[in-house]
């Protein structure tokens, strides 16, 4: 219905090719599955990431959101070159780094850093905080003025830790403090882009906000571009200028924060948004639509044909099974707001007449509840 009204990819918004720091095109990662006896053969592939396009501008913070298992971490690891892409291209500051070897990538290696999800496994338990943070500088032969140790102390202070903790070991810190150490390590090389893979989801809710605040400060003050990976829209809400929503290895909707949070078009984005807990006025919360998705993300080994979301979509029609919806700008969308859906939702998050409850069990429960209430 909206096919003929679509516009070409955005130009002129933040993240235009002119000031793009990182450009990802058609990025694909298929993990092969081997099986068979006695001779092992390739019997299939986990299509963890399947042709995603993404742009991160200089100093821009982009959120990457999606359910567990939809390929967010894989995307992050591809961008930091921890994994070898199956197809597609990664361009950093105009330089193609898609298949660059360790030596080839060396000049820009220090500019792309990563913050990891698990603060307990991301710090070597046998090294002091000092040597953990110093290590990247040693590897890259960086000799800051005043010495590396001084720089480490500065970094510790920057992330809100006591510089005197230089000689302590990771096991002496709490989860939040460890994550700060991870941030300091990522900052040690003065990076231009940081991929943060769910940096707070392993933390206590009360500490999450502190770490997100720290990252936000770092991002603003040091002008570092962020690719912030999260599994719900709540965490990235205040952090990201642009948000990309992923589902089963594909980007289904991308746009600036305004568009995604206030005028989402893709049914999956609507579902994710309705799961965001609204802290604020009660009346407003009551106004919002309620969507409960049923089941889990389908297996990325045999993703559904056509639109990958169709097995859980309440608007799915025959066309969705046969034709894959392209990621395009729909009529009524702002610049740079792209959606991959044949039958998009209205650009609102207001409540509709009926709640959408996709789970039959949940439905039965809710119906049973109503008379009593």
């Amino acid at each position: 219905m909206s096919d003929n009204l679509t516009l070409p990819a955005p130009q002129g918004t933040s993240g235009t090719p002119a000031d793009a720091l990182l450009e990802v095109k058609g990025l694909t990662k298929h993990f092969p599955i081997y099986g068979g006896f006695p001779i092992k053969r390739r019997v299939g592939a986990v299509q963890a990431v399947d042709g995603i396009d993404l742009t991160v501008g200089v100093g821009e913070s982009v959120g990457l959101v999606g359910e567990s298992g939809c390929g967010k971490s894989t995307t992050g690891r591809l961008i930091t070159r921890l994994l070898e892409p199956t197809a597609g291209s990664i361009t950093y500051a105009g330089q193609d780094i898609t298949h660059a070897s360790r030596r080839q990538i060396a000049p820009v290696r220090s500019e792309i850093q990563m913050i990891f999800q698990d603060p307990y496994s991301s710090l070597n338990p046998r090294q002091t905080v000092g040597s953990i943070i110093k290590s990247p500088m040693e590897v890259n032969g960086i000799e800051p003025e005043g010495g590396r140790e001084k720089k480490v102390r500065e970094l510790l202070e920057l992330v809100g830790l006591n510089p005197e903790h230089y000689n302590r070991f990771p096991h002496e810190f709490s989860g939040g403090q460890r994550q700060r150490i991870g941030v300091a390590r990522a900052l040690a090389l003065n990076p231009k882009l940081i991929v943060a893979d769910e940096p707070v989801s392993a933390l206590d809710v009360s500490i999450q906000a502190q770490v997100v605040n720290l990252l936000q400060e770092v991002q603003r003050e040091l002008g570092i571009a962020f690719l912030f990976i999260a599994h719900d829209l709540a965490v990235v809400r205040h952090f990201s200028q642009r948000v990309a929503v992923m589902y089963l290895g594909k980007v289904v909707e991308v746009g600036d924060r305004e568009s995604i949070y206030n005028r989402p078009r893709h049914p999956y984005t609507h579902a994710l948004l309705s799961a965001v807990p609204e802290v604020g006025v009660d009346s407003e919360a009551a106004d919002r639509e309620r969507i409960r998705l049923s089941g889990d993300v389908p297996s990325p080994i045999h993703p559904p044909s056509g639109c990958r979301f169709r097995t859980r979509c309440w608007k799915a029609q025959d066309k969705c099974a046969t034709e894959e919806p392209p990621l395009v700008q729909l009529s009524g969308n702002g610049d740079g707001h792209l959606t991959a859906c044949h039958f998009p939702e209205d650009p609102t998050t207001g409540s509709r007449g009926d709640d959408i409850v996709m789970d039959p069990a949940l439905m039965a429960m809710e119906e049973g509840d109503t008379p009593e209430a």
Partner: protein
């Protein structure tokens, strides 16, 4: 550099965890101890373990005795080679009776022969024992270190690089594991020795030692390789290794700085279990007649001789046997204590 942490210290909503104030993790007592490395913590836990400390002292004592064997025999005034029962020099102080059995109580205990004498030849048991321990311990340490180093190197390579390398190292490991060890020790020892010297000639002692070293080493490194490989496999997936990769570290640096320090624990524990078993294996070889032979003093050879004399002189085996039992027991208990100290959650 400006500090954002400080820049917005005013807002109460952004209460950045200020300092390393309490914020202790529940159920982790160690967090309150300050500035201690995991190694130091381990040492502290170990010191609290009385069995461990006693066993460590015992083991150290054995090594001291082995090292000081020449001094000790000087004290006792005996040596392991002299045949006190047959040597005419000692005719005025006979140690054996007419049947070749030790005079006196319990295998011939006396002021000059502290642990008695050997029937038939009258050699001094004390001197033979301390020198025998020396042979066994030195051999065992050498062999164990070789086995460890081989296992660690192969395990690190296989575990870290994975893929084809790992596959082939794994197959080679399986191949060596498939040998029936005891049988091959016995079968191969003469082969290896014959490799160096003509079987018709006398084999020098050092060549026997080298042959044992080679055979035990070749058939003994697999356990270590497997252990290190599996540990490295799990470490390789840890995020701190990925962090090192993201910073551009070379594989060699990652293995050396990130992985190796984390496999020290299992290596050390494995070492304390392997050493006593190597000693037993060496003793077994000598006992079976393919290890050290007369007159080289050796623990295993003492047992082989002891077996001959048990009917007439059961006391002969008492001291060497007791020494071996205590040593192996102490070393194994020490291994348990080391493991507990490293990993307080495992065991008991």
């Amino acid at each position: 550099m400006s500090s954002p942490a400080k820049a917005e210290g005013s807002g109460p909503s952004v209460a950045l965890e200020p300092e390393l104030e309490p914020v202790p993790e529940p159920a982790k007592g160690e967090t309150t101890l300050e500035g201690r490395s995991p190694g130091q913590l381990m040492w502290q836990r170990f010191k609290r373990d009385r069995t461990g400390v006693v066993c460590a002292a015992t083991v150290i004592l054995y090594f001291v005795i082995a090292l000081a064997a020449p001094l000790l025999t000087k004290l006792s005034g005996t040596d392991p080679y002299t045949l006190y029962g047959q040597d005419p020099t000692y005719q005025d102080s006979p140690v054996l009776d007419d049947f070749g059995l030790p005079l006196g109580y319990f295998g011939g205990l006396s002021g000059s022969h502290w642990f008695g004498v050997e029937p038939q030849y009258g050699r001094d048991v004390f001197a033979m024992l301390v020198y025998g321990m020396r042979t066994s311990l030195f051999m065992a340490v050498g062999i164990t270190v070789l086995m460890m180093v081989t296992g660690i190197v192969l395990g690190l390579i296989g575990g870290y690089f994975g893929g084809r390398t790992d596959y082939w190292i794994g197959r080679v490991t399986d191949f060596f594991l498939a040998f029936p060890q005891q049988l091959f020790f016995i079968a191969f020892m003469p082969v290896v020795t014959a490799f160096f010297v003509d079987p018709r000639e006398e084999t020098p002692t050092y060549l026997r030692a080298v042959a044992m070293l080679i055979v035990l080493w070749l058939l003994g490194w697999m356990g270590m390789a497997r252990l290190v490989r599996s540990t490295v496999l799990s470490l390789r997936e840890r995020e701190f290794v990925e962090a090192a990769k993201v910073s551009g570290a070379s594989p060699w640096r990652i293995v050396r700085k990130e992985i190796l320090p984390n496999v020290v624990t299992p290596i050390l524990v494995q070492f304390t279990y392997t050493l006593p078993s190597t000693i037993l294996t060496i003793a077994f070889l000598s006992f079976a007649g393919v290890g050290f032979v007369e007159p080289t003093p050796d623990w295993g050879r003492l047992f082989a001789n002891g077996a001959k004399y048990t009917e007439q002189d059961p006391a002969f085996l008492f001291f060497p046997g007791l020494a071996l039992v205590i040593f192996v027991l102490a070393f194994n208990l020490l291994g348990d204590s080391v493991r507990d100290a490293f990993d307080p959650k495992s065991g008991r």
